[in-house]
C-alpha cells in the first residue's frame, strides 16, 4: 500500500475544481439534451439526466432539420467525417512526400520551393477568404468535396512536421541503405515510411481534428445543405433558436453540439499519447 500524502490534498482539490470549470458546461449540454424543450423553457438548462435521451438523438440524426429542413444530422456527421478524414489523409500523404524531396534530394529549386511552401504560414484562410471564394467559383469547385478539402491542405504545417522528423533520422541509415543497394523509392518505402509510422498516426490525429473543426471555410464554400458539416448545421439551429420565432428546441441544439464535439474529444482522449506527440513535435 502506498502511503497517502495528505500534504498534497489541497493541490488535488484545486485541480479537481479547475477541471470542473471545463467539464461543467459540456455536462450541462449533455444533461440538457436529454430533456424535452418544454421542460427546458420552464426550468432552464439542466444538470440532471432527463428521460428524452433516445428521442432527441433519434430525431436529430434521422429527421431533416435546419432552415431548409432538407438534411439530417446524420448526413452532416458523414460530411464532417469526410472532411476530417480527407483532410488528414491528404495532408499526411502530400506533406510526407514534399518533405522527403526537400530533405533527401539535392535539386536546384529546393530552396525556392521550400520558401513557397513556407509562405503559406503567412496568410491564414480567414484573411484571404474573399479571393479564395472567387478562385473556387472560377474553378467550379463550390459545393464539392474537392473544394472543401484540397485548398485546406495548402498550409505548410505538415511539411514542416515531416521535415523536422526526417532531419532527426540518423544520416547513417541512408548511408547503410545506399550501401545495401536501396534506391530513392526503396529507401522511402522500406526504411523511411515504416520509421515514420508513429509520426504519421500522430499527425493524422491532429489533422483530423483540425479538419473536423473547420468552420469558416465550409461556411463559405458550401451553399447546398447536402454538403453541410455538423458545425454549419448547428449554427443554423442556433440561429433559429435564439432569433427565430418558433418554440426554441434547446434540447436539439444541445444534442447537435454534443454530436459535433464528441468525436474530436473522444479521439483526443483515446489517442492521447499520439495526439500530444503530434501536437508538440509539429512545433519544434
Amino acid at each position: 500500500m502506498k502511503k497517502i500524502r495528505y500534504d498534497k490534498l489541497p493541490v488535488h482539490i484545486f485541480l479537481i475544481v479547475s477541471a470542473l470549470v471545463f467539464l461543467l458546461p459540456v455536462w450541462m449540454l449533455i444533461a440538457t439534451s436529454t430533456h424535452s424543450p418544454e421542460e427546458i423553457i420552464q426550468h432552464g438548462f439542466q444538470l440532471g439526466i432527463g428521460e428524452h435521451f433516445l428521442s432527441t438523438y433519434k430525431s436529430i440524426l434521422f429527421e431533416k432539420e435546419g432552415y431548409t429542413k432538407s438534411v439530417t444530422a446524420g448526413r452532416m456527421l458523414i460530411n464532417s467525417l469526410i472532411l476530417g478524414f480527407g483532410f488528414a489523409i491528404g495532408k499526411v500523404i502530400i506533406s510526407s512526400l514534399a518533405a522527403y524531396a526537400i530533405v533527401y534530394f539535392r535539386f536546384r529549386l529546393a530552396n525556392f520551393l521550400f520558401w513557397i511552401i513556407f509562405l503559406t504560414l503567412l496568410l491564414p484562410v480567414e484573411v484571404r477568404i474573399v479571393p479564395s471564394f472567387e478562385v473556387l467559383s472560377t474553378l467550379g469547385l463550390l459545393n464539392s468535396y474537392t473544394g472543401l478539402i484540397v485548398p485546406l491542405i495548402a498550409s505548410a504545417t505538415g511539411t514542416f512536421f515531416f521535415r523536422q522528423f526526417y532531419k532527426s533520422v540518423p544520416d547513417e541509415l541512408l548511408e547503410a541503405a545506399k550501401i545495401d543497394g536501396a534506391g530513392s523509392w526503396q529507401f522511402f518505402i522500406d526504411i523511411l515510411l515504416p520509421l515514420s509510422k508513429t509520426m504519421m498516426v500522430a499527425l493524422f490525429i491532429v489533422m483530423f481534428i483540425v479538419g473536423w473543426n473547420q468552420y469558416l471555410w465550409p461556411v463559405m464554400m458550401t451553399t447546398k445543405p447536402e454538403y453541410s458539416t455538423l458545425l454549419l448545421g448547428i449554427k443554423e439551429i442556433y440561429q433559429s433558436n435564439f432569433e427565430g420565432s418558433y418554440l426554441p428546441e434547446y434540447n436539439k441544439a444541445a444534442a447537435m453540439t454534443i454530436l459535433a464535439l464528441i468525436v474530436p474529444v473522444g479521439i483526443v482522449v483515446i489517442f492521447q499519447k499520439w495526439f500530444v506527440k503530434g501536437l508538440v513535435d509539429t512545433e519544434k
Binding site: E172, L173, E175, A176, G181, I191
Partner: protein, 337 residues
C-alpha cells in the same frame, strides 16, 4: 594493389581542404587501420572509399576497377557504422538480408547465408528480434553481420567500437581480428584509439590534418616514429618530448653530446615513458615527483626534471615531493628535426 587510392583531394569549402593529395594502397586481405585525432580527415577518407563522399580529384581503385563514378551499392563494399545504423523497424534477420534482397539474391541462398553468418557471430537466437531489444554488444555483432553476409571485396569500419564499454571493446577487438584471420577480407578500419590500431592492424596509417604522417606495421610505428606527431600520438602515456638547442652541429642534452647532421637551431628529442628505468644506464636524471597514478601492475609517475615535465612508467611507488634517480639508455632516445 587491391585497394588503390591515388592523389586524392577533398574540400567542403574553398578555404578548407579536408584531404590533400593523399595516396594509399592495401594488399588483398590486408587489415589497414587509419588512426588520427578527430578532424584529421580519416572518416572522410573512409566515406570516400565507400562512395558516400565524392572526391574532387584523384582515383580510387578496388580490385583493378576505378570506382570513382560508382554508387556505394555498386562498389561491392560493406560498412560498419559507429552508431551501427541498424534499421530499427526490421528484425535482425531482415537487417542482415536487406542488402542481399536488393541485389536480387535467391531466397534460399539468402537464408543460408544469413544463418551461416548468424552462427559465426553467435546471434542465431536473436534473429527475429528488433535491434531495440538487443544489448550494445549484440547490436555491434548484427552490424558486423550485415557487412559479412554480403561477402564484399572491402570491409570499411568507421570507429565501430567507440560506443561500447571498455570491457566489451576489448572483447570485440579480439573477435574482429579473429574474424579477419578467418575471412581474409581486405579491411580499412578507422579509429582514434591507438590501442585498437596497434592490436588490429597489419599496417597502421597515421593521419593528421588531411595528410598521411606515416604508414607502417605497428612495430615500425612504435619503434621508429617518423615525426613528433606520430611519436606523441602512438603510445600511452605519450612520449616525453623536449625541445633542444643545437650549437656547432651538436646538441647538448642531459649531459651527453649527440652528433647531428642537421644545422637547425632546435631539435626535438623524444623519450618514451617506459624507456626511463631504474637500472643504471647511459644517462642519469633526477626527477622531482609531483604526482603518482597507481595502475596496479605499475605506476605512472609525473615529475619535473631540469625545468621540464616528464612522465615515467615504473614499478616504483614514490610519494609526492620525493626526488628520485632514473636512467635512460642511449638507444631509446628519438631525435626529430
Amino acid at each position: 594493389m587491391y585497394l588503390n587510392i591515388k592523389d586524392v583531394d577533398k574540400s567542403y569549402s574553398k578555404e578548407k581542404k579536408i584531404i590533400h593529395g593523399l595516396s594509399l594502397e592495401a594488399e588483398k586481405g590486408e587489415f589497414l587501420v587509419i588512426v588520427g585525432p578527430s578532424g584529421c580527415g580519416k572518416s572522410t577518407l573512409l566515406r570516400m572509399i565507400a562512395g558516400l563522399e565524392e572526391i574532387d580529384r584523384g582515383i580510387i581503385e578496388i580490385d583493378g576497377q576505378v570506382v570513382n563514378s560508382l554508387s556505394p551499392a555498386q562498389r561491392d563494399i560493406a560498412m560498419v557504422f559507429q552508431n551501427y545504423a541498424l534499421y530499427p523497424h526490421m528484425s535482425v534477420y531482415k537487417n542482415l538480408s536487406y542488402g542481399l534482397k536488393n541485389r536480387g539474391f535467391d531466397k534460399g541462398l539468402i537464408e543460408q547465408r544469413v544463418h551461416e553468418v548468424a552462427k559465426l557471430l553467435q546471434i542465431e537466437e536473436f534473429l527475429f528480434r528488433k535491434p531495440s531489444a538487443l544489448s550494445g554488444g549484440q547490436r555491434q555483432r548484427v552490424a558486423m553481420g550485415r557487412a559479412i553476409v554480403r561477402e564484399p571485396k572491402v570491409f570499411l569500419y568507421d570507429e565501430p567500437l567507440s560506443n561500447l564499454d571498455a570491457k566489451l571493446r576489448h572483447q570485440m577487438r579480439i573477435e574482429i581480428r579473429k574474424l579477419h584471420e578467418r575471412l581474409g577480407i581486405t579491411s580499412v578500419y578507422v579509429t582514434h584509439d591507438q590501442v585498437e590500431a596497434m592490436t588490429l592492424a597489419d599496417r597502421i596509417v597515421v593521419m593528421n590534418e588531411g595528410k598521411i604522417e606515416q604508414i607502417g606495421t605497428p612495430d615500425e610505428i612504435y619503434n621508429t616514429p617518423a615525426s613528433v606527431f606520430v611519436a606523441k600520438f602512438m603510445g600511452t602515456p605519450p612520449m616525453n618530448i623536449f625541445q633542444v638547442k643545437i650549437s656547432n652541429g651538436k646538441m647538448d642534452f642531459l649531459g651527453i653530446e649527440v652528433e647531428t647532421g642537421s644545422s637547425d637551431d632546435t631539435l626535438f628529442v623524444g623519450i618514451r615513458p617506459e624507456a626511463i628505468q631504474d637500472e643504471e644506464s647511459d644517462i642519469s636524471i633526477e626527477v622531482a615527483v609531483t604526482m603518482v597514478e597507481r595502475l596496479g601492475s605499475e605506476n605512472i609517475i609525473y615529475g619535473e626534471c631540469m625545468g621540464e615535465q616528464v612522465i615515467i612508467k615504473s614499478k616504483k611507488t614514490p610519494s609526492k615531493n620525493d626526488t628520485m634517480q632514473f636512467y635512460i639508455p642511449k638507444e631509446s632516445i628519438f631525435i626529430f628535426s
